[in-house]
Amino acid sequence: MAKTGNAVAESDNIVVETAEKIFADLADPQTINNDKTNSWQAPLWQALSEAGLPLSWVPDELGGSGASLADGFALLNAAGRFAVAIPLAETMLAGWLLAQAKMTSPEGEMTVMPASPKDRITVDADGALSGRCRGVPFAKAARHFAVLAHGPDGVSIALVDASKGRIESGLNVGYDHSDTVTLDKVQPLAIEAAPDGVDQTRLMLMGGVARSLQIAGALESMLDISVRYSNERVAFEKKISKFQAVQHNLARLAGESAAALAAATSAADAIANAKTFDDEVYLEAASAKIRCAEAAEKGGAIAHQVHGAIGFTIEHILHRYSLRALAWRDDFGSESHWAVELGKLVASRGADELWPLVASR
């Protein structure tokens, strides 16, 4: 992406600046799209690891680089703008989960499970973990799993050697690994009780906001490359950007991109500054996932429409953003799931408490 220089200049945060420089150097979208062997992945991961980025949310004393929640969220937004197929968000979330129970993060790729509100891992009296989780992102690439498990004594957080799980490999619509992992009485490397307030819902919302920021980033890039393409492509003897129908489509894409970014950054800000995970934070996080997922559909469709047939080819970079944004909708609870949950919350509070909830900050 020729415009990445802009993004570097825009950022006001050292974590994001570092990441953007690494992405620009090692993950140029056209170059990696042409690379059928994915030989770019190892050097990119190594560079990100050397910069401490995958363990951004892990404090120094637990093996991480101790960045703030806010900086980590900004990093995920930047990662979304590059839409790279590496388990950065997953390792960050896994490290965050382990750190909640003051557990040290190991080196290397991790993922987090469950990755769906429907799945559940149980822990028995011996501390062994069992259960089946579908749609676990990058499970096949992970060396360790950070697991949230339910047992007779409540919620636990565990670190599991990935080779102890049975993995049925799968791909999501963005061609990234999204695997089914079965744990059958697996003894974890470490296990601790989760602190108050850290439960599966909280993990799903945290993951959902991470995905929201990635979707928003992908939409920013889709807007960027669509505008650029419309200013280059000539049809009927003029640039297609001069046709009002195309202009209005791109204006709508800008609106969807802006809405996604606003929803995601607002939710990230709410979580980063939350003292407790109250209804207002729940509204922010659930809304971000719902609205960003809707924007992925509407915005991505416009980006493809503007590009015409060329955007439908595997050689073009557009699908790297459009398909991944669609795939990210499914992780940590789809928009349908969160809409039902948010609707139930609103209904249980009652009609006269809806506006106070919306206008709470």
């Binding site: 200013n231 609106g255 607002s266 809304s287 719902i290 609205r291 928009e335």
Partner: protein, 386 residues
Amino acid sequence: MTAALRFDPIRLPETCEQLRKEVRAFLAEEIAAGTFDPHKPNREDTDVPEFSRKVGAKGWLGMTWPKKYGGQERSFLERYVVTEEMRVANAPTRRFFVADRQSGPVLLKYAPEHIKMDILPRICRGEICFAIGMSEPNSGSDLFAAKTRATKTDGGYLINGTKIWTSSAHIADYMIAIFRTSPPTKENRRHGLTQFLVKMKQPGIKVNPIGQITGQYEFNEVVFTDFFVPDDHVLGEVDGAWKQATSELAYERSGPERFLETYYVLTELVRAVGPDPDTRSAEGIGRLVAQLHTMRRMSVSVAGMLQAGKEPVVEASIVKDIGTVWEQQLPHRVRDLAAFVEETATNRETLERQLDFAIKTAPKLTIQGGTTEVLRGIIARGLGLR
């Protein structure tokens, strides 16, 4: 380019929350006293002068303006809170809303001092109502095609022509209008229009009400016949109104009134489905609330940009585009879900009556104050496409 489309997560400061409590308490008192009915959405049908004066007495009109003109020198974010609470309560804001949002700021910027000293304090006290004279029978979205003439005469101008779709002209004390003082030039078709302050309710002005599909008569045709406007009522540069128009737009296009116009049907639906909704109702309500929340975050963010002295014209246009399309669709989405509401729901009739009105209101929402097409043109220009 995408740098221009940032909506930073602005949070309302503590002063706003204290103010919000005061506004809610005031509105609750007025509702209890029977000044207005919050369940009756056709607020614009009712002109309630005493409510306007009470809001003025609270210091909630012109609240961002300098104290010497009757203002409170408070922030745009504080004004935002007052505006959204009034909207959600269906308060009768018709008499003061345009003056507070739009006309006052224009006068502050362009009117001579003695006019500011005369008029602005009266707006702040809630005593006077303003209308905006933009559209004409043959010029709506194409503002610069306006033909109503202002011809120079001794000490002022003589106005001849017709403005149309002018909301509140039948009750307005003043209008801020654009009239043609010169023909357009070859180089600039926007040249030749001048902004004027017009005192209404005088000979030479005839206001003819126009019926709307909602059953209301809230907009009008305004006919000027040799109507005299003195020189000191010229606002800004003669022939240069086009330079003054754009900064107004960010104020006009991003406020909570751009997505809350039909909000009442959502509240009433939540009431109708009760505390334990079925999956379809819950999913529908959840989506609508997520969309509403997102627009409000965007709108508050624009208020923050205004407070910081920026001119977020493109961002404001995005808020109005997304917000008005949403508030237009809202009654139809609520209707979809209302089909499954139990017959026994106690507010069923209220919901149906509100839906009837909201569905009739919906078509105007993407037209008034800048059509969707005009907004998308502005956004496209911001993207570098035009």
